[in-house]
Amino acid sequence: MNLLDVRNLSIKLLTGEKAILAVDRVSLTMKEGEVRGLVGESGSGKSLLAQAIMGVLDDKWQVDADRFHWRGNDLMRLSPEERKSVIAKDVAMIFQEPMACLDPTTTIGEQLAEAVYSEEFTGFFWQKHQQRQLAAINLLHKVGIKNHQKCLKSYPHQLTDALCQRVMIAMALARKPLLLIADEPTAAMESTNQGQIFRLLASLNQLKNMSILLISHDLENVTHWTNTITVMYSGQFVEAGTTEQIFNCPYHPYTRALVDSSPKANMHIPVKSRLMTLPGSIPILQHLPIGCRLGPRCPKAQRACVKAPKVKNYHGHQVSCHYSLKDNY
């Protein structure tokens, strides 16, 4: 059974005159124990999608979906309170810039103790404090921080970026989530630290069978760590499939351009030659093109592209394009 099944999710920004369609009919499914990458450039609505799944968007945003199921439960039919309790129990999220997300005025120990799930504790109230501390230390051990004494006493600014991110992951693990949404967990981090964080997430995935939705703006960084990848562009669904399918034979011109533009994926091209790239940049929300939003930048665009294409499925490799590159391979 699918853990999360979202079909045709749209997110509208309600402004003065007319609503802006920020995310336009995106589908996403997560299986148990799967690591899925959600890739898109900045402004492509991937963080919005994550926030919509968590249900933390405020009144300005209107979320519609044809299907929004969490382990067979239809979330759209539940009241906000019920929905929140379902989501909060099983889904956790970590953010980019961990230092900015932790409270700078309290120690790591206090913040962790706050996050600990206290309903499992047994015994009298005077024993609870002790149990809480133990649980916090256990959480730190789980994310690979051995020196827990020092870490619990320190403030966020005294730790490095990677350590702060580990603490964030520890907090997310407190309620043993089934799905962890990692919103650019390694942005602005050094490559050696990035490796540490990704390895930690991968080991959590393997040991605890936790599904991970890994959000990133860079395709080349996540390919090593994901089973499946969903690509978005400017709020529209582009392509989804296994990592090999997406990376080795992309069907959509946009994904093709992403793979071609990465110097890392193209080790064979001569040094200092020109890289393949799409002209222009991602459109802003006020001036979105009609139909397929890649249209003005797309090398294969034709007249039919003013209508948004339907999603086609080739053996689990979904692509949303009128002129897919399927026949090129």
Binding site: S42, E220, S281, I282
Partner: protein, 260 residues
């Protein structure tokens, strides 16, 4: 061929601690020497606190070196003589959003270095600004825009325009490509390569992304704790890393490619 930029014995140390008995000296940068010829690019790699940003600041003249000299075309650059240095060595920073003054239009932003460093009249300056904007792929209409009206990639282009408007010989890119989206980044790399061919620029690129470094640079310098641990041809170093730190760095990024 003589080298364009020649650095000999350059070092920087800071004094910390107020009381005399607590005073310590921190060597941010141990003495280093290197050369960069015209048309070539030097990459600097290292972890945080390895002194790569200090080196960039010393080259551009924002900090006073403790020892050593920076020579450009055989001519020594003195600290404090900004008129001489600003014309020839320019710098682009990581976050283009915060390095552009939000209260000035693009033409005013680009006018400032011209006002300070050249004696062109108003018409000539406007013409030069127009030309430079075209060179980096922007339109003359963008002259009257404010920075917040431009997208991230366009802002980075404006910073590049500001860097090349004085026709410099060396440009220092301090993580200038890190924060950009992949498609904008490859656009920017193409642009920089074109400019290098046309104007014979030398680049000093500070970066973490080994893919970009392999594609874009000729020489490479690996730094750790203020010291240069490895220096040489980029391809040679990436193929046969000698030092432990370089190996670790390559493992953390390349190993993903080898498995694929």
């Amino acid at each position: 061929m003589t080298s364009l930029l020649e650095v000999s014995n350059l070092s920087k140390s800071y004094h910390v601690g107020g009381f005399p008995f607590k005073r310590r000296v921190i060597n941010a940068l141990e003495p280093i020497s290197f050369e960069v010829p015209a048309h070539k690019t030097l990459a600097i790699v290292g972890e945080t606190g390895s002194g790569k940003s200090t080196l960039a600041k010393l080259l551009v003249g924002a900090e006073k070196p403790t020892t050593g000299k920076v020579k450009l075309n055989g001519q020594t650059l003195n600290h404090g003589n900004f008129k001489q240095r600003c014309q020839h060595i320019r710098m682009i920073f990581q976050d283009s959003g915060t390095t552009l003054n939000p209260s000035l239009t693009i033409s005013q932003l680009l006018d400032e270095p011209l006002l300070l460093n050249t004696d062109l009249d108003e018409n000539q300056r406007a013409l030069l600004i127009r030309e430079t904007l075209q060179k980096v792929g922007l339109l003359a209409d963008h002259m009257n825009f404010y920075p917040h009206m431009l997208s991230g990639g366009q802002k980075q282009r404006v910073s590049l325009a500001r860097a090349i408007i004085l026709k410099p010989q060396v440009i220092i890119l301090d993580e200038a490509l890190a924060a950009l989206d992949p498609s904008l980044r490859s656009q920017m790399i193409n642009l920089l390569l074109d400019l290098q061919q046309q104007m014979g620029l030398a680049f000093v690129l500070i970066s973490h992304n080994l893919g970009i470094i392999r594609h874009f640079t000729d020489y490479m310098m690996v730094m750790s704790k203020g010291q240069v641990v490895e220096m040489g041809n980029t391809l040679d170093i990436l193929k046969k890393p000698q030092h432990k730190y370089t190996k670790k760095l390559i493992m953390s990024q390349h190993f993903q490619l080898l498995n694929r």
